[in-house]
Structures are given as structure tokens and as C-alpha cells.
């Protein structure tokens, strides 16, 4: 169950790196967040862990709602094209994931697989932030990084997951809300959510 969910998270992440439509990307991000919550529910043995898993479910649903509203409020007349083609983006994402896994010595760690998946998701998030021009995709990049960390925190028993999950959930809710305000204002100001328009500040 855990392995399958982790694979699902990776597939959703890599697909988001490649897809063009924002609504599809929001669907994939929601699917990833739900898969994360699924792992938390499956592994919950104590009340604390159940509360943490519940918080992840609420977070996944709230994010899906927020992002869907954002997409519908800010319809692009012309799709914002990424500066890098999908195949190269995907290649970059996989390459960075492999480099991170190779660089960070966790081979002796009891949760080797989970940490590898986390590093992969972080790499996907970073590539999305670096290569996608649509503000909404950059928000998704941040969400992927946060999902990766929540997954890493879930992957071991010695550490109370409640603290990190509730903390991450609260933090993500705040950041996502502020990012949504910015996305909305940027769209109102420039008529598009394209970060290429944000290039006035240069020295």
C-alpha cells in the first residue's frame, strides 16, 4: 500500500512537470496530496498520528478547493507557455532527482525508499519552480516540496509526526493563501499569471 502510494506521488509529480493545462496540474497535485494523506492514514497507530493524518486529508481538500477557485477566477486568454519544452523539463526533473539521491547518503537509513521518493519530489518541485512561467505552477512547486517533507517525516516512527504534519499544514495553508493573493493581484495587474512579466527589477 505504502509503496504504491509513493509511486503514485512520484507519477503525479513528474506528470505535473510535463503537463500544460493548469486544471490538470491542480488535479494531479490534489491526487498527490491525497496519496500522502492515504499513507498517513495507513500508518497511523496512535491518536496523535490519526489527528496528523486527518490534518493531511483536510489540507488536500482545502488546497484542491483553493486552487480550483484560483484557476476559474483567472482564466488565461492565451496559455502561458513554459520556457523549456516538456521533454527537457521531465529530463531535468529526473536528472536532478537522481543527483539528489546520489549526493545525500541515506543508504544505511531504515527508510531508504521513502527518503528517495522525498528527494525525487523535492527535485520535481524545484524544476517546476525554475522552468514554469505560470504563477500557479510555481505555487504547485512549493506544494510538492512541502509534500515531500511531510512524506519524509512520516517515514519513521521515532519522531512524532503530529508536530511536523500540523506545522507543515499550517505553514502551507498560510503560504498558499498569500501566494493566491499574489497570483490574483498579478493577474489583475498584468492580465496574465506569467512570471515573465515580472522582470522590471534588474540592476
Amino acid at each position: 500500500m505504502q509503496g504504491l502510494s509513493q509511486w503514485l506521488m512520484l507519477v503525479c509529480g513528474l506528470s505535473t512537470v510535463a503537463v500544460r493545462r493548469r486544471s490538470l496540474a491542480v488535479g494531479l497535485a490534489t491526487c498527490q496530496a491525497l496519496a500522502l494523506a492515504g499513507i498517513a492514514i495507513y500508518e497511523a497507530n496512535t491518536i496523535d498520528e490519526s489527528v496528523a493524518a486527518g490534518a493531511l486529508v483536510v489540507r488536500a481538500i482545502a488546497l484542491a478547493g483553493l486552487l480550483t477557485v484560483l484557476v476559474s477566477r483567472t482564466r488565461e486568454t492565451i496559455p502561458v507557455r513554459a520556457s523549456v519544452p516538456p521533454s527537457i523539463r521531465s529530463g531535468l526533473a529526473v536528472g536532478l532527482a537522481l543527483i539528489l539521491i546520489w549526493l545525500i547518503p541515506v543508504a544505511n537509513h531504515s527508510n531508504f525508499d521513502t527518503l528517495q521518493v522525498s528527494f525525487g519530489l523535492i527535485a520535481f518541485g524545484m524544476v517546476i519552480i525554475a522552468t514554469r512561467r505560470a504563477t500557479l505552477f510555481q505555487i504547485l512547486g512549493i506544494i510538492f516540496i512541502e509534500n515531500a517533507i511531510a512524506l519524509a517525516a512520516l517515514g519513521h516512527s521515532s519522531y512524532s509526526s503530529l508536530v511536523i504534519e500540523l506545522g507543515v499544514t499550517l505553514d502551507l495553508a498560510l503560504i498558499a493563501m498569500v501566494a493566491s493573493v499574489f497570483h490574483d493581484r498579478i493577474f489583475a495587474e498584468f492580465g496574465t499569471g506569467d512570471v515573465a512579466m515580472l522582470s522590471d527589477l534588474r540592476d
Binding site: I122, G167, I175, V178, L201, D203
Partner: protein, 490 residues
């Protein structure tokens, strides 16, 4: 125990009062907003000063469970955050009166601004008092959310661009730090936040490579929020485009607070990863930040942008001081924290008057202000002279102490390189100072009248404090206060 109870009462007053005020201003009449905010802020600052004095008076480090720590570093930063918070609030009125647009419409604009500012201020107070890495991380992320809103508050395109970059880049960086924290958590013998407290981090049971990787991830992640090069891209934009009162708070208080968390992490993890990695990473960030900032200090930049690059330089110098270690360099760090906070916030607050006096200075370097408005020119001059490290002002004292500490502790190459870069930075800022005061860039440009009494009054007060800090700085290296900072930290 009585000590801790007193500390807790004061901490609750200092941290929770701004949060309470942030909510209260939505239910009181709008005409009373400013009065209530200022009255509450005064109470909070008195509490903060009292708390800091109690911390300085006491010997040793006091903790309340794993959540709060009271040590000299916390005392220093609580004092700085308090002073800068109230001055930011006092200068916010001028900013809000001149604001023609915003992320929300006018009936709510003033209240929203003060609410977010007060919550940001409360979080800033809490960051240096956080007793463990996990809580500190959450609070720092909280400051990102609130301060990003303030950076983009005007809703103007440049402010939105700066706010967006700040939000995305620092959130990504803090994500990397959280990964490091999660890895540290896996090696903790104690569950929950207790495993991440400053006192228990040193007893982590992971292998050396694992701990080192986790440590590097945490420090690199935090570096993105401190604004150290090469992860500083957001800093010049956010600090230059934020409302002036917020720029002062971001530069003088937020950056040092995050830097303090990095310092605490380095100190707490040194028994596990060794002292060298932490020191070397900080020295590396310090030199790189200086090298990145200096070329921009030589360029003719708009006033706020120049101050923003100067923040990069000064965070680099503080990193060097912490990296060099020892009583001399640490004394230099303390003097630098105070001197930088006063001079930088003064410069940013003065930028409001400068923009009214010479609107072109929003995008162009100011010129001839010493002639067109002597009081404003004097204020800008005091700020920039201090930031350049002009003797006998405190940043001169601190830079000498930090470099002396570097030589004393055997960091010969790093010290020489840093000395050269600091000297180049000094020349660059001196050029900017002369140009700002004496040169006439704008030819027949007409200047607007601006009331300079408030900012000039603050400049006189700041000068008195700066001279006191310089004088105290000379005696600091041999003081027990510095020895307490060098030997023990919460």
C-alpha cells in the same frame, strides 16, 4: 523557577500583545486605529526592554520546557526587534497617507496593514526566543507569509514582482531547511519537538555523514532567508520595493533573527558534526555575500536598492564574525547587529522623506540632497556613513573586531580577503555618500518641500545611540557578556 515565571509573563506580554492588537483594531472605530496601535506598541516595547534587561542581568540560560529560551542572544534581538517595531509603526502613518493603491480598498487598507505588521512583529519577537529548531522554523515561515504581504502591499507591479520572488524563493529555501530538520528528527532519541531543542540537538544519534547532510540542508535553507549569496536573489528586490517602514524591519530585525537561528543551529550541532563545518560554511557565505554585494555598492543605484545591497554586505560580515568565533569576533557581531539595525532602519525611514522630496529617487540615485534639504541630507549621511564603516561609528569598530577575531583564530586567508572586500565596500558607499549629499544629478530638477523634523529628530537620537554603541564596543571583548555568548547559548 521565579525567574522563569517572570520571564514567561513578560514574554507573553511582549509577544501576545501585538497579536491581540492585530485583532482588536478590527472592532474599534477606524479613527482610533493608530492611537490604539501606538499605545499597545509602547507597552510591548517597554515589556521587551524589561525582558531584555532581565536576561542580561541573569547569569546562565533559562528555559521553559523545550519551547522558549532566554539567553543573551535572545535578549539582544528582543531589544532590536522592539525598537525597530515601534519606529516602523510610528513611520507607517506617513506611508499609509501617501498610498494611492493597495492590495485591498481603502476602508480596510489601514487596518489590514497594521494587523499584518503587528502579527509580523509578534513573530519576529518569538523567533529568537524559540527554544528549538522546529518551532523556530515554523515562526520563520510565518514571517515569510506576513512580510510577503507587506512587501507587495502597495499592489504596484514592482512591489508584486518583489513580493512574489520573495515568497517563492524563500519558501523553497525553507522547504530545504525543513528537509534537514526532518532528517535530524529521524536521528533524535526523543520524539516530538523535544528532539529538536537546542540542548538535545547535540545528542543526536545519527551517523556523522547523515548529521552533516542534515546540518548543511538546514543551514543552506536558512541562508536563503537570511539572504546570503548565492541564494540572495530576492533580497535586493524585496527590501527596495517594500514600504519603507517594512524595509527597515526586514533588514534590521528579520535578517538578524533568522541569522540567530542559524547561529544557534551551528552551535547546537557542533558536538555532532564538529565545529569546523559550521564555521567554514558561515565564512564561505560571508565572503561570497561580500563579493556579491561590493560590485553593486560601486554602481549608481536608487537609494533603497543601495541599502538593500548593503544588507547583503552586512549579513556577510556578521556571518564572518560568527564563523571566526572567539571573544573579539563575537563582540564585533554584537556591535554590528545593533549598529546595522539602527543605521539601516534610519536609512529606510528617511527614504520616505527622500521620495517626497525627490520622486525621481525611486528609480535613480539621489543627488545633492545635502544642498536641497540639509536636515534630510544629514539624516541620509548619518545612515550611509555608519553603513560604510566610517570611523568612529560602530560598524567601523565591529568590522575591526571581527577581522581581528579572524586573525586571532588563524583564519588568515579569509581575514585578508574579507578585509579587502570590506575596504572596497567602504569606498563604494563613500562615493555614494558624497554623491547623495553633494552632486547634482538631476540638473534643473525641482525638489519638493518635505517636513524633515521627525526623521531629523530620529537621526539625532540614532547618532547618540551609535556613538554609545561604538564606545561600549571597545570594552565588549573582555566583558563577561561576550564570554557568556561564546561559551554557552540556549
Amino acid at each position: 523557577m521565579t525567574y522563569v515565571t517572570n520571564y514567561l509573563t513578560l514574554t507573553s506580554l511582549v509577544v501576545l500583545l501585538p497579536v491581540f492588537l492585530a485583532g482588536a483594531i478590527w472592532v474599534i472605530p477606524a479613527s482610533h486605529t493608530r492611537t490604539v496601535v501606538i499605545a499597545g506598541a509602547v507597552v510591548s516595547v517597554v515589556g521587551a526592554s524589561w525582558l531584555a534587561l532581565k536576561i542580561f542581568e541573569s547569569r546562565g540560560v533559562h528555559r521553559t520546557g523545550e519551547w522558549i529560551v532566554f539567553d543573551p542572544l535572545a535578549g539582544i534581538l528582543v531589544l532590536i526587534v522592539g525598537a525597530l517595531g515601534i519606529t516602523s509603526i510610528l513611520f507607517s502613518d506617513t506611508y499609509l497617507r501617501g498610498l494611492t493603491s493597495g492590495v485591498v480598498s481603502q476602508p480596510f487598507r489601514t487596518r489590514l496593514f497594521y494587523s499584518v505588521l503587528l502579527v509580523f512583529w509578534a513573530m519576529l519577537y518569538a523567533v529568537p526566543l524559540a527554544g528549538n529548531l522546529g518551532a523556530a522554523w515554523l515562526l520563520i515561515e510565518g514571517t515569510t507569509a506576513t512580510s510577503a504581504l507587506l512587501v507587495g502591499f502597495s499592489g504596484k507591479p514592482r512591489a508584486l514582482e518583489a513580493g512574489w520572488k520573495y515568497l517563492i524563493l524563500t519558501s523553497a529555501g525553507m522547504g530545504v531547511a525543513l528537509l534537514g530538520i526532518a532528517l535530524l528528527g529521524t536521528s533524535s532519541r526523543i520524539g516530538g519537538l523535544g528532539g529538536l531543542s537546542w540542548s538535545t540537538l547535540s545528542r543526536s544519534s545519527g551517523s556523522h555523514p547523515d548529521m552533516l547532510v542534515a546540518f548543511v540542508l538546514v543551514v543552506v535553507g536558512l541562508a536563503s532567508k537570511v539572504g546570503w549569496a548565492p541564494v540572495h536573489n530576492w533580497l535586493p528586490d524585496a527590501h527596495s520595493e517594500a514600504p519603507s517602514p517594512i524595509s527597515g524591519l526586514l533588514s534590521g530585525a528579520l535578517l538578524p533573527c533568522v541569522l540567530a537561528v542559524t547561529w544557534r543551529t551551528t552551535k547546537a550541532m557542533s558536538p555532532v558534526v564538529g565545529t569546523s563545518p559550521g564555521h567554514e560554511i558561515l565564512i564561505g557565505f560571508g565572503i561570497l555575500s561580500l563579493a556579491m554585494a561590493v560590485p553593486f555598492l560601486w554602481q549608481p543605484l536608487a537609494w533603497k536598492r543601495l541599502l538593500a545591497y548593503s544588507s547583503l554586505e552586512h549579513m556577510g560580515i556578521i556571518a564572518l564574525g560568527i564563523g571566526f568565533g572567539g571573544p573579539l569576533a563575537i563582540a564585533g557581531v554584537i556591535v554590528h547587529l545593533f549598529g546595522h539595525a539602527i543605521a539601516k532602519s534610519l536609512g529606510f525611514y528617511a527614504s520616505q522623506s527622500l521620495l517626497t522630496h525627490d520622486p525621481r529617487s525611486a528609480k535613480h540615485p539621489p543627488g545633492g540632497v545635502g544642498r536641497s534639504s540639509p536636515k534630510l541630507g544629514a539624516t541620509l549621511g548619518i545612515s550611509l556613513a555608519t553603513l560604510s564603516g566610517f570611523p568612529p561609528l560602530p560598524l567601523f569598530v565591529s568590522e575591526v573586531l571581527i577581522l581581528a577575531g579572524g586573525f586571532e583564530n588563524g583564519y588568515l586567508v579569509a581575514s585578508i580577503l574579507s578585509a579587502l572586500l570590506i575596504a572596497f565596500g567602504f569606498i563604494g558607499l563613500l562615493q555614494a555618500l558624497l554623491s547623495t549629499l553633494l552632486e547634482d544629478h538631476h540638473g534643473s530638477q525641482k525638489f519638493h518641500y518635505v517636513k524633515t523634523s521627525p526623521i531629523f529628530g530620529l537621526a539625532i537620537l540614532a547618532t547618540v545611540f551609535l556613538l554609545i554603541i561604538s564606545w561600549v564596543g571597545l570594552y565588549l571583548p573582555s566583558s563577561s557578556f561576550v564570554h557568556r555568548l561564546v561559551s554557552g547559548m540556549g
